[in-house]
Symmetry: C2
Subunit: 261 residues, 2 copies
DNA sequence: AAGTGGTCTAGACCACATG
DNA sequence: ATGTGGTCTAGACCACTTA
């Protein structure tokens, strides 16, 4: 065998493809530009469409591309920084906290949430749906679970339904003294309802931020916020932009205007 | 048409499969148990292997499964909570901060990092590699970028190479007064080197935590830490466990012992 | 109606871990 | 040597958007 064969471990095609495309995106395309369709791209690189799609999926996961069925694949803008830590030590619903209450129902929370709240697994709690919009684009959907004992002013099922009731629950929360809170971030996939609200397909990758609010010596409320992982970079502390980290190890500066309040 | 046709939008097969498997995992399997192989599973459900794999991929993304080439697919334990916010306002390298210095070289950082540090795009900086292990399992790999001006005690290229030099850089950092820091979390995919260290395949989903350290009125160091997204839940604030959020919307309590620190 | 990305199939071969 | 998951192919059809 006279061939050189330097590659002891040949790189998978889709990985190499991803690298090539990534460099092309940096040099030959600008934000918002549409790429050739998948069939053409696959033919151009001499691979099957499934292989090309594997590369595109990774690039989308890293926030480099945006794909929309029936439309095409476009070059995504840099991820926007969304402040998560600045409202520290304040209740949800405080004036100008970037969230917009959408709805409120009484429902039995998932078992895990009930455990955090210390309620029975068959006890209904106020369930407030809120959504967060940045730059005119939906970036997060939230479910806020508030036991009825946390907002005694509303125990009777008299409250109006929908957005009005949501605002009422948030208003009652403000009356409590917030003693502390607690956050966790993990990767998840969008449930059907969240996906619709985030303008993504079900199963799309999301960053799930779970926050516990403490008052009166116990957990007074739990928030589960799902952020679009492709377009969002969660910032804690100073709301200044930080860095964009491309998976390939070539971060670039984020110069977006950071329009968060 | 006399058929019922209630499903206006038929659910994709892989999505339904994922739901079925998820319920099976909750009821019929225990942590660590190995599943039947992909070919058998696909046959059992009457789908192509690629379709089954699409469902398994999602479940792995959500931390429910662990797949290892040549071995098989096993039921993953609940995600472990790794504290990210507790060492707030302390330099990296402080005693018992869960990180283990591995190496240090002088290298030109990626353009984005250079921008954050305010160095020229062709200036070398100390680049410290550290790794973090929880429960005997690698959970994160970090690159810490320290401009030579931040640690003037080491400007000469006399320092020993490798781990010793890494410790020296960290030690010098402690001498500065930390004025603040700044964090951002985003989704990324593991670079080849990180993947090897995290015992994952390249491209595996990771949570990238970028931290800026401020001292002397400027950015004195930048840390880019990549955490395994499948096994880790990043906790901020109190190091107590929070919640596990299964993508399907059925969170369950995390009862793991939280061995942080 | 045409064009896009999303889903699905039925194969094949490869890299890796284990016995 | 065997069995596992990982990669890849060449097609097909579907759901969605836009014109």
């Amino acid at each position: 065998m006279g061939t050189t064969q330097l590659e002891t471990v040949p790189e998978p095609k889709y990985w190499h493809l991803k690298t090539v495309l990534s460099e092309a995106l940096d040099s030959e395309f600008s934000v918002g530009e549409i790429l050739p369709n998948e069939r053409d791209l696959a033919a151009r690189f001499g691979v099957a469409r499934a292989t090309l799609r594997q590369a595109l999926e990774q690039l989308e996961l890293e926030g480099r591309l945006q794909r929309r069925r029936g439309v095409g694949t476009t070059v995504a803008p840099p991820r926007m920084g969304v402040a998560v830590g600045t409202e520290q030590h304040s209740w949800p619903g405080t004036a100008g906290d970037a969230w917009q209450p959408a709805d409120c129902t009484a429902a039995v929370p998932p078992a895990g949430i009930a455990g955090l709240l210390g309620t029975d697994t068959d006890t209904q709690v106020h369930t407030v749906r809120r959504s967060r919009v940045n730059d005119g684009q939906p970036v997060a959907a939230e479910l806020l679970y508030v036991p009825e004992t946390s907002v005694p002013g509303l125990t009777a099922p008299d409250a109006p339904s929908g957005a009005a009731r949501a605002r009422a629950v948030l208003r009652e929360l403000q009356r409590l003294e917030l003693e502390g809170q607690d956050r966790a971030v993990e990767l998840g996939s969008a449930r059907v309802e969240d996906a619709r609200e985030l303008d993504r397909l079900p199963g799309a990758p999301v960053l799930v931020v779970t926050t516990r609010f403490f008052a009166g010596g116990r957990t007074a409320a739990v928030s589960v916020a799902t952020y679009r992982a492709d377009t969002c970079r969660l910032t804690f502390g100073d709301p200044d932009g930080v860095v964009i980290h491309h998976g390939a190890g070539a971060p670039s500066l984020d110069t977006s205007p950071e329009p968060v309040t």
